[in-house]
C-alpha cells in the first residue's frame, strides 16, 4: 500500500533518530487501517493529522552541535561572561560609562536624522526653492515681495511653478453649534503640484481654483464633522456673511514639515488690506518656486536682475536669492544649539568612558597575564586570544548598546519635551537604530579586544607565569595621560556650567530700563470680533473700566509688547539732514505705554493724549538717535525712505531691552496710536500684590468686548523669563553631564587606585613595620594621583578660557569669566579625588601589617 510519505519526511528531520523508524512504521500501519475503512482522501487527511500530532518536544532530536570548533567558540562566551562577573566592579563601571555615552550619541543621531528629515518626502524636493532676498548690509531675509513669485513665473520659462504661502490671521468658522477658530493660509493653485501632502478627501487642484472652496486638515474635519465625510459640507463665518464649501481634506502637516497649515484658501480670497500692502516695496511674503529639472538658480541670475531692475525701487539693493528647500530647514532651525550641545556631551562622555575602559583593561592585565601564560602552555594561539578578548569586550559593548537603545526609546517623551522636538517612537526608526548600534558596538568591542590580546599574548611565557611585567612604566605613562585627559574634560564641563549659569542669571537680572513686573497683557485678536467698529468702542470702554479700578495702576494700548516685537523694519531719512536710509525697527504705541512700562525719556517728551490734535509724531530710541547722527531733538523730523510724508520726532526713549539681553538693542521708531487708541495688546499694570484681583476682574468683564474668543493673557515678566529658556536648558544639560562625567572619571580613578594599592599591599605593610605613620603612607600613595590632577587642571585653564569666551561672545551683553569659577571647580575636583583615592589609601595604610604581610 502506498503511503503519502512526504509529510513524514519533513518530520523525520526533527525526530530523535532512535525513534524515527518505529514511529514511521506505526503511522504507516494506522494509515492502512484507515484505508480499510475510509475513502483514500479521508485516510490521507487522518494521516496528516497523525503526523502533526507526532510533533512533540520530548521526541525531538538533540540540537546540540557536536563539532569541536563550535564548542570551543561557544565556550568563549561562557568564559567572557564569567570574567565579567568576576570583575564586577570594572564591568559595572564600563557598562555605566558606555551606556551613558551611547545614550547621548544615540540621541544625537536621532536629532540629526530628525532635522535632516524635514520636508524630505516631497518628490520635487530637488527643484523646490524658497524665495529669499539678499541685501549686502542686512544679509539673507527669507521673505520676498508679494507680486514677485507670479511675475518670476511669468517671465522666466525655467520656473515651472510658483506659489505663495501666507498665514496672516485666523478664521472663525461655524457648523451647526460648533464654532472654532483656526489659522488661515493663502496659497496659489500651483501649491498642489509643487508639494505633496496626502489628500484624504476631495480634489485639491479643484479646490484651489474654485471660489469659496476651503481646504481643511484631518483634525479640523474631525472637530467639525466627526467621522463623517467633510467634502461638500458648508462652514459659515459667525456673522453669517461668508460661506465656504469644503473642497478637500488634507492630512495634518507632519511635525517635520516646514509648511504648517490648518485652513487653506486660494489666493483669490485674500483680504483687501493684503491687496494694498502686497506691493513691490514690502517684503513679507513667503514664496516658493519650482524650477525645471537641471536648472540652477545661478543660471537665472541675469533674468532675476532684469526683473529687479524693472520693479524694485531705484536704490533698493536687494536681490532675489532662491534657497534650496532641501536646505531651508537646516538654515533656520533653532535646533542647531541642541545639536551642538549634544555633540559636546556625546564626545566628552564617550571620551571619559573610553578612557576608563582602557585604563581598567590595562590594570587588569597583570592578573590576566597568568591566565594567558597558562593557556599558552596548553597550546593556545594568538588567534584564540584575539577571539577570546574580542568576545569579552564585545559582550560589554553590545549589552550597553542594547540598554542605551531601550533607554533612548523610554526617554523619548522627555527628550521631545525638553528640546521641543518631535522624535517619533515608531518601530521603523528604531529598526535601523538597533542595527546601527549593534554593528557599531560589535566593531568597537572587537577592536577594543584586540588591544589586550595583542599586548598580553606577546609576552614571554615564563615572564607571564611569573607575573612579571617589565614595561610597566610605558603602560603607566599611557594611563597617566588618559587620566589627565579625563579630568581636564571634567573640569572644563564643571567650570563651563558655572559660566553658563552666571551668564543666565546676569541676563535675567539685568536692568532692562523697563518695568516688567506686575504687568498683564491682554491679547485682542481682531479676527475674533464680529463687527470691527462696534468692537473698537466696546474695547475702549473695557479699557476705561479697567483703568478706573483701584488695584490698577495704569493701562496702555500697543500693537506689540516688548518681547514680542515683529520683524518689522523700514528705512528712514532725515529730510533736513544727512542721514539716509537708516534701518529702524518699528512698532506702534499709545501715550500711556511709556509711563506704564516705566520707560525713560531722555530728550524731548512723550506723546500727550490730552492734545487731541497731536498727530504725525513719533518717538525714537537712543540707538536710533545716534544712528541719525543727531545731538539734540529740536525740530527734528523723520521720513520713511521713498515716502513723501515727514513726521516730527517728539522725543527719545532710553534704550530698553525688548528681546533677550543676548541681542543688541536695535534702533527703533515708535509710531503713535493716536489720542483715542485701540490696538492689539492691552497692557494692564496692577498694584503690587493685586494680581488675583486684576485677573478676576478681567475674566469677569471680558464679555464686554464681544469677542468670540475667550480671554487670552500673559504676564510680561514671564515672557522675558521664557526668552532664556534655551540657555537654561543648555545649562541644565551641561551641569548634569558634568556631574556624570566627573562621576565616571572618579569611578575609573577609584578602581585604578584600588588595583594599584592592592598590588602594593606588601610594600605598605613593610613601611608600617619600619615606622611610617598611616598619614605618611596615605600621602605617599595619593601623591601620584594628585600630581596628575594638578597637571589636568593646568591644562584645562587655557582651554576653558578660550571655550568660555567663544561661548560668551554670542551674547551682546555678557559677563567676564570669573576666576572664582575655576578655583571652585578645581576645589571640587580635588575634594572628590581626595575622598575617593585618599580614603582608599588611608584604609590600606591603616591595615595591620601582620595581615598585609601574611604569606599567601
Amino acid at each position: 500500500m502506498k503511503t503519502p510519505h512526504w509529510p513524514f519526511s519533513w518530520i523525520r528531520k526533527v525526530l530523535n533518530p532512535k525513534l524515527a523508524e518505529h514511529i514511521e512504521g506505526d503511522l504507516n500501519e494506522l494509515f492502512e487501517d484507515y484505508m480499510a475503512i475510509y475513502p483514500k482522501w479521508k485516510a490521507q487527511v487522518f494521516y496528516y493529522l497523525d503526523c502533526v500530532r507526532i510533533i512533540r518536544p520530548h521526541l525531538f532530536r538533540s540540537f546540540k552541535s557536536n563539532s569541536t570548533i563550535t564548542t570551543m567558540f561557544l565556550h568563549n562566551f561562557k568564559l567572557g561572561y564569567r570574567n565579567l562577573k568576576k570583575y564586577k566592579n570594572y564591568t559595572t563601571i564600563n557598562l555605566l560609562g558606555l551606556i551613558l555615552g551611547l545614550f547621548a550619541s544615540i540621541t544625537l543621531y536621532r536629532v540629526v536624522k530628525y532635522e535632516a528629515s524635514f520636508n524630505s518626502w516631497h518628490p520635487n524636493l530637488d527643484n523646490l526653492y524658497r524665495m529669499a532676498e539678499y541685501h549686502p548690509e542686512y544679509e539673507v531675509y527669507y521673505q520676498t515681495r508679494t507680486p514677485a513669485a507670479e511675475k518670476i513665473k511669468e517671465e522666466i520659462p525655467e520656473v515651472l511653478n510658483a506659489t505663495r504661502f501666507f498665514s496672516p490671521t485666523s478664521l472663525w468658522l461655524e457648523y451647526n453649534d460648533i464654532r472654532l477658530s483656526y489659522e488661515l493660509t493663502f496659497v496659489d493653485p500651483d501649491f498642489a503640484s509643487m508639494f505633496s501632502f496626502k489628500v484624504l478627501e476631495g480634489n485639491l487642484e479643484q479646490a484651489l481654483t474654485t471660489k469659496n472652496q476651503l481646504i481643511i486638515t484631518n483634525t479640523l474635519s474631525k472637530a467639525f464633522f466627526g467621522y463623517e465625510k467633510a467634502v461638500g459640507k458648508v462652514l459659515r463665518s459667525p456673522d453669517g456673511t461668508t460661506q465656504y464649501e469644503i473642497g478637500a481634506v488634507l492630512e495634518d502637516p507632519p511635525g517635520n514639515s516646514s509648511l504648517q497649515y490648518e485652513l487653506i484658501l486660494s489666493w483669490q480670497h485674500i483680504p483687501e488690506w493684503l491687496k494694498e500692502a502686497g506691493d513691490w516695496n514690502n517684503t513679507f511674503m513667503e514664496s516658493y518656486l519650482m524650477l525645471q529639472e537641471g536648472t540652477s538658480p545661478q543660471s537665472l541670475a541675469q533674468k532675476f536682475r532684469a526683473i529687479e531692475a524693472r520693479y524694485f525701487a531705484e536704490d533698493d539693493r536687494s536681490q532675489f536669492h532662491p534657497v534650496p528647500f532641501a536646505e531651508y530647514h537646516s538654515l533656520i532651525s533653532s535646533n542647531k544649539d541642541t545639536l551642538k550641545t549634544l555633540t559636546i556631551i556625546a564626545l566628552v562622555i564617550s571620551l571619559i568612558s573610553f578612557v576608563n575602559f582602557i585604563n581598567l583593561l590595562t590594570a587588569q592585565s597583570l592578573t590576566r597575564l597568568k591566565e594567558v601564560g597558562v593557556k599558552k602552555v596548553l597550546g593556545s594561539t594568538m588567534t584564540h586570544f584575539l577571539i577570546q578578548f574580542s568576545i569579552e569586550t564585545s559582550l560589554v559593548c553590545i549589552l550597553s548598546g542594547l540598554i542605551a537603545v531601550v533607554l533612548s526609546f523610554l526617554f523619548t517623551p522627555l527628550i521631545n519635551d525638553f528640546f521641543q522636538l518631535n522624535l517619533s517612537n515608531s518601530y521603523s526608526v528604531f529598526f535601523d537604530l538597533w542595527v546601527l548600534t549593534f554593528l557599531s558596538t560589535l566593531v568597537v568591542g572587537i577592536l577594543a579586544g584586540l588591544y589586550p590580546a595583542l599586548y598580553l599574548a606577546n609576552k614571554n611565557i615564563i615572564q607571564s607565569l611569573k607575573g612579571d611585567l617589565k614595561r610597566a612604566s610605558q603602560r603607566q605613562y599611557l594611563q597617566k595621560m588618559l587620566i589627565i585627559l579625563q579630568y581636564s574634560a571634567s573640569i572644563v564641563l564643571i567650570t563651563g556650567s558655572f559660566i553658563i549659569w552666571d551668564q543666565i542669571s546676569f541676563m535675567k537680572n539685568k536692568n532692562l530700563s523697563l518695568d516688567k513686573e506686575n504687568v498683564v497683557v491682554v491679547e485682542l485678536d481682531f479676527t475674533s470680533f464680529p463687527d470691527m467698529e462696534k468692537s473698537a468702542e466696546k474695547v475702549k470702554l473695557f479699557r476705561q473700566l479697567i483703568n478706573n479700578q483701584p488695584f490698577v495702576h495704569s493701562t496702555a494700548f500697543a500693537w506689540n509688547t516688548p518681547g514680542h516685537y515683529d520683524y518689522n523694519y523700514n528705512e528712514f531719512d532725515d529730510p533736513n539732514g544727512n542721514a539716509q536710509k537708516v534701518h529702524l525697527r518699528q512698532t506702534t504705541i499709545d501715550a500711556s505705554v511709556v509711563p506704564t512700562l516705566g520707560m525713560e525719556i531722555v530728550h524731548g517728551r512723550n506723546f500727550n493724549e490730552t492734545i487731541k490734535t497731536e498727530k504725525d509724531v513719533v518717538l525714537i530710541n537712543e540707538s536710533a538717535f545716534e544712528a541719525m547722527g543727531w545731538s539734540s531733538i529740536e525740530n527734528k523730523e523723520i521720513k520713511p525712505h521713498g515716502d513723501g510724508k515727514s513726521y516730527r520726532v517728539l522725543g527719545v526713549v532710553k534704550d530698553f531691552h525688548y528681546q533677550s539681553v543676548a541681542n543688541e538693542i536695535e534702533p527703533m521708531i515708535f509710531w503713535y496710536a493716536g489720542p483715542d487708541p485701540v490696538s492689539r495688546m492691552l497692557l494692564v499694570k496692577y498694584s503690587q500684590g493685586k494680581v488675583e484681583d486684576a485677573i478676576d476682574f478681567l475674566k469677569e468683564h471680558w464679555h464686554m468686548t464681544g469677542s468670540l474668543a475667550s480671554l487670552d493673557y500673559f504676564f510680561l515678566d514671564t515672557t522675558y523669563d521664557k526668552l532664556y529658556q534655551s540657555e537654561e536648558k543648555t545649562g541644565l544639560i551641561i551641569s548634569s553631564f558634568s556631574v556624570v562625567g566627573i562621576f565616571l572619571a572618579s569611578l575609573g580613578l577609584f578602581a585604578l587606585a584600588t588595583f594599584t594599592i592592592r598590588k602594593r599591599i606588601k610594600e605598605i605593610g613593610i613601611r608600617k613595620v619600619m615606622g611610617a605613620s598611616s598619614i605618611q603612607i596615605t600621602g605617599l600613595l595619593s601623591r601620584n594621583y594628585l600630581i596628575l590632577i594638578l597637571i589636568a587642571i593646568v591644562i584645562s585653564y587655557p582651554l576653558l578660557w578660550y571655550l568660555g569666551n567663544e561661548y560668551l561672545n554670542q551674547f551682546a551683553y555678557r559677563i567676564e569669566i570669573n576666576p572664582v569659577f575655576m578655583i571652585v571647580s578645581t576645589a571640587v575636583v580635588l575634594v572628590i579625588v581626595f575622598l575617593s583615592v585618599g580614603s582608599k589609601s588611608f584604609k590600606a595604610a591603616s591595615l595591620n601589617p601582620s595581615i598585609s604581610l601574611r604569606d599567601e
Binding site: L19, H22, G25, D26, N28, L30
Partner: protein, 111 residues
Amino acid sequence: MKKTQLGEFEEIVLLTIAVLQEHAYGIGIKKEIENRIGRNVSIGALQTAFKRMEDKGFLTSKLGEPTQKRGGKRKRYYTITTQGIQTLTDIRQIRANLWSAIPESVLNYKL
C-alpha cells in the same frame, strides 16, 4: 509510601503494556487502550509516554522484525520492567488503602 512518578495516562499505558506482554507495540497498545477505555489516544502522546517511562526505567524496548505491512519499518516492542511493576503495585496499594478507608454510607449513596 513511596512517591509515585506516574501520571494517569502513563499509568494506563504501563498497565496495558503489562497486559499485552510480548505483543506490546505502538499501534497495538493504542488499539487496546481505545477498546478498553473508549477514548481516542493520540499517537504523539503515546510515544512521549513511552519515551519518558523508558527514560525513567519503567520500560525496556527492542526492535522487532520488519514486516511488509508497515512499509518495511520495524516495530518496537515494549516490556515492563521490575521497577515498573513495583511502581504499579505501589500505586494500586495506595488506591486500595484509600478505598478501604471510605465509610459505607458514602459508597452506598442512594437518593
